[in-house]
Amino acid sequence: MMDMIILALEQVFTVATMIGLFVGVSAGMIVGALPGLSATMAVALLIPLTYSMGPIPGLVMLVSIYTAGIYGGSISAILLHTPGTPSSAATVLDGYEMTKQGRGLEAIGISTVASVFGGVFSGLALLFLAPPLSTISLKFSEPEFFLIAVFGLTIIASLAADSIVKGLLSGVFGLIVGLIGTDLLTGFPRFSFGITNMQSGISLVPAMIGLFSISQVLSQLETLRIAKKHEIGDIKGKLIPSWKNLKAIAPTVLFSSVIGLFVGMLPGAGGDIGSWVGYNEAKRFSKNPEKFGKGCIEGVAAPEAANNAVTGGALIPMFILGIPGSAVAAVLLGGLMIQGLVPGRALFTTHGVITYSVIIGLILANIVMGILGLLTAKHLIKVTNVPVVILMPAIVLFSIVGSYAINNNMFDVYVMFAFGVGGYLMKKTGFHPAPVVLAMILGPLAEGGLRRTLVMAKGNVFTYLLGRPISVTLMILIVIAIVSPIILDYRKKNSKKLKVENGVPEE
């Protein structure tokens, strides 16, 4: 393996591959940062271009776009409250709060460090641990996917800023949207109203662009006539994270990277789910969870480390088993096949040099992306100074292009606008769009997982589930996730009472 890695290094440091890498990283960052244009779209659009390139430069370019696109999405999430890709939806929560507090530059610094760490971490795991890790991913099947989805849904209550009821209502709305489409198990069209475009369901990306970007544009329009100065003050925060901050986020970043890696390995779960789970767990295990959502650095670091760790994780089962771990990896698989590279052990033996070159390319791309990010952050930040009258039409334009290009379908553009207006009305009435997106992602995963489990159990669902150790563990985790806040809340109230009774002053 070592000699192949050395050969691969020679292949990576060629002019063609380096150009591919730099083009990929820059294009990925730009496309990722533009609200509306997603990483999946960028990879899908550029795949035909790689058909005529050599396998190493072409594939290195694609993985560079992938990881840089995921990172780029955090920039607009932090500065503009519009996630550039679905993977950065969770970053909006704390990132934009930091920007509002004038700490936008600091948030970008944190996001960059976390993204680079997550990306390099998963790249190294891909390089050294791919075969053993791919066997772990095989232990997960439908019952586990169902339980993971349920576990992810437990966060909805805590995502709602003001009211749990409103959070749950938003979540239910997202679940209902997820029901639209052809029933996978019976071929029956559900809630499609005879419209062909709705028979494959509501596409997530256009809906998400609408909910976050268009609704934000509409909110901004409200204040346009009131000649108010931009609510964001001067951006003063320090770009390079201080030693103290680095130490503060280190455990979160490491933990989220591991989460991202594992989520990435599961078929069908990508950066969007990884970042939510990362954010959720960081909040759950934090000593001061109440700081989350109010501009805390862990709230930026956790989803960003997780979503970049997904990239390497998603490639592990793809290389070894031909099972892509995320939507982008599925598109990448096409790029691999067109080069005549069929997934399997042969990728690490016969075609080892190509495979290792791509993995090393992925690790390098993360580092290059970090450097470029830190160098350009000072200029990127100026986007918040662009007058609303220019920025908003530009966001609308990119949202239209991005929604259309994902499936070359005008219907997706209508979906985007419908969700934009819906998201605006939700904001006006105190609902948050985040639970809708989360439920749209996890709902179909939970439904498919449960219904396939019922078939696979051959009639004995409970004994079937109890016979699967991973399922049992997940079920315990779900119970803890639901019960623990109630107990903690109860104990807090009790201890407060005790303290007051004992005359201890409240902190």
Binding site: L45, L184, T196
Partner: protein
């Protein structure tokens, strides 16, 4: 100030480009099929790029194979062939698009069976389409059904072991979706041999493979292409092929008929077609070009490296093949509840 003006100009320019793009699309349908074919000089057909609509996304199986084939066809026809991916609606977003395109011979599309056939046979969707809506060009890839189990599965060494067991016990099998070719294979086996296969419908081959290798689903019902690759990787063991004869990729694996069971043949196939109504002369020009390109040894080798079989049947033969596929589905209409 200058910066602002520049930005504004950029935005304006971009929106103009977009508007131009949209209007170009809108004006196209107004040139009626008949008049278009009369005005454009027939002898010089084709004299502009031809659009190839693929009803599945970029990087998918259909897309990969198409992009390997099309450059060879471009050489024959002398005009570019532009792929347009139109995924959604189980393929019908793309198929509807190319059925509605002007019949001037500049839009062709991939048709995928059995998805196309089940899409109009399923009464829930109220479609009145049929094979008569298409002028067939030629088939491209033909992938017969195959049955496999985990490489280290002790229970089922041969297809007999599996079928005998499945007559007494419930056995789970993978499929690429309701009424897909794998599901049809299971239903037809249940119908004719009395087995009890239950379908675990999944989104695609990769999820199915994970479920069987991981030991979560008993039997891998898919196609020769994916089974061949998985067997080479030591992950699966092929038990039978659902084809009229043995596959050159799996020469040691019997057909279902050879193993002593009814001759059930299922396949996933994709080929090219025009929407009905295109000038016969043009159909012939394009068909000849495709058949030539399809039989180019370089093309055949690249497709076979991916584990697929090229079958360049055209005309009557292709139509009969599709009709027999359709008949196989109509046979189990009751089981599907249609």
């Amino acid at each position: 100030m200058n910066k602002k003006k520049f930005l504004l100009l950029m935005v304006l320019a971009l929106s103009l480009v977009m508007m131009a793009g949209c209007s170009a699309n809108e004006t196209e349908p107004s040139t009626n099929g008949e008049t278009a074919s009369e005005t454009s000089n027939d002898e010089s057909y084709p004299n502009k790029p031809i659009s190839v609509i693929i009803a599945y996304s970029a990087g998918g199986n259909t897309d990969i194979a198409a992009r390997i084939l099309l450059p060879y066809v471009e050489e024959e026809l002398g005009v570019p062939l532009n792929v347009i991916n139109k995924p959604g609606g189980g393929g019908w977003t793309g198929w509807t698009e190319f059925l509605n395109a002007p019949k001037d011979g500049y839009t062709i599309g991939y048709i995928n069976t059995p998805n196309l056939v089940t899409g109009y046979l399923n009464p829930e969707f109220n479609r009145d389409n049929s094979l008569d809506d298409f002028d067939l060009i030629a088939n491209h890839v033909l992938d017969y059904g195959a049955i496999a189990v985990r490489a280290d599965d002790e229970r089922f060494k041969t297809i007999d072991d599996l079928i005998e067991y499945a007559k007494e016990n419930q056995v789970t099998g993978t499929t690429t979706g309701y009424a897909g070719d794998d599901h049809i294979a299971q239903l037809r086996l249940n119908d004719s041999v009395g087995t009890d296969f239950v379908a675990v419908h999944q989104a695609g081959t990769s999820e199915m493979l994970a479920a069987v290798i991981g030991g979560h689903v008993d039997v891998f019902f898919d196609n020769v292409g994916s089974v061949t690759i998985a067997q080479e990787n030591g992950e699966l063991r092929a038990l039978a092929v659902l084809a009229p004869e043995r596959s050159k990729f799996l020469p040691d694996v019997p057909t279902l008929e050879e193993a002593g069971y009814p001759a059930i043949v299922t396949s996933s196939a994709r080929g090219l077609a025009f929407a009905k109504g295109v000038d016969e002369e043009k159909v012939k020009i394009v068909t000849d070009a495709f058949v030539k390109a399809l039989n180019n040894p370089e093309h055949i080798k690249r497709i076979e490296d991916l584990g697929y079989l090229v079958d360049s049947m055209s005309g009557e033969e292709y139509l009969n093949f599709l009709k027999s596929d359709e008949a196989g589905i109509i046979e189990i209409k009751d089981v599907l509840g249609w």
